[in-house]
Amino acid sequence: MSSAYRFSVSIMPRDGILDPAGRAVEAALPELHADNVHAVRVGRRVELTVESDSAAGARATVDSLAADFLANPLIESWAIEEMAG
């Protein structure tokens, strides 16, 4: 009997990799008088539902999708979380 499992995948530029988008956001902060904010990094988040017989099976599917497609392992790292409901 298959169930639906919902996951989020948060994808970020790897540490040490220049993040131009984060730098652009950070450059705007003085205009907002947010001078105490720094080390901004911009990534993206993907949410998806997997139909599977087991939580482990669903997780394996997401693991493989993240590594092969959702992220580019050369420059990005990712974190997978199972979401409630």
Binding site: I17, P20, L70, N72, L74, I75
Partner: protein, 228 residues
């Protein structure tokens, strides 16, 4: 002899590429990305544009278009494969070329003329370029900063896989590592570059330097033996 020019949803330099190939003296056929064959073409060009909207990452979704199976088979048989701009991004995502094209470090979409040094004149893609000549060609991309980890860059250079580099006076426009503008695979039959040869294929466009690359490709097709 015929060149297949792949059309992804969002490709926008496909017709320019066809025109450039025709100027270089070969036939060209547009091949929609849902096809699973290249129509018997002798070479394939993945053109510029924004395939599948460039969502996720440039080229990431195009890599899974049905036609990419045929492109991969063609490349693995030794068939000549050229990726221009977005096509270069697709080839790196498909792991047919090493490296990744990251967002420009300038934080801008860079749209201007650049000057290219040709590192190798003995390739299927560059043999018509006279020694010592630099090429004037336009770029138009937001994600063209070539990147590989340092040791991999050293290996790439040692194997002679760096084909094009941005040179003075305009220099490196996008923050590419070691000013790399184009690379090829080890076998030398798959090449990608960010600048647009097809947009510099006749003098009325401001330069016809790019035609030298398309002519190289067309002349090489006749010589390359592709295993059946």
């Amino acid at each position: 002899m015929k060149v297949a020019v792949v059309v992804f949803p969002g490709s926008n330099c496909d017709r320019d590429a066809v025109h450039g190939v025709q100027l270089a003296g070969a036939e060209a056929e547009l091949v929609w990305h849902e096809r699973t064959d290249l129509g018997g073409a002798d070479a394939v060009i993945l053109p510029g544009g924004f395939a599948h909207g460039d969502y996720l990452r440039s080229g990431a979704i195009a890599r899974f278009s049905p036609v990419m199976g045929a492109v991969r088979e063609h490349a693995e048989r030794g068939g000549l494969t050229l990726g221009i701009c977005n096509g270069f991004q697709v080839l790196t995502e498909a792991r047919l070329l090493p490296g990744v094209l990251r967002r420009n470090t300038t934080l801008r979409f860079e749209h201007r003329w650049v000057r290219l040094g040709v590192e190798r004149h003995d390739t299927a893609f560059t043999h018509a370029v006279p020694a010592g000549m630099t090429l004037r060609m336009p770029i138009a991309h937001g994600e063209g900063a070539y990147w590989l980890p340092e040791p991999d860059l050293d290996a790439l250079e040692a194997k002679g896989q760096v084909v094009f580099r941005y040179v003075a006076p305009e220099g490196n426009p996008n923050g590419s590592e070691r000013a790399i503008a184009g690379v090829m695979n080890e076998r030398g039959n798959v090449c990608g570059l960010m600048p647009h040869p097809e947009r510099a294929s006749e003098s009325m466009l401001g330069s016809d330097d790019g035609l030298l690359l398309l002519r190289s490709l067309v002349e090489s097709m006749a010589r390359v033996e592709v295993a059946a």
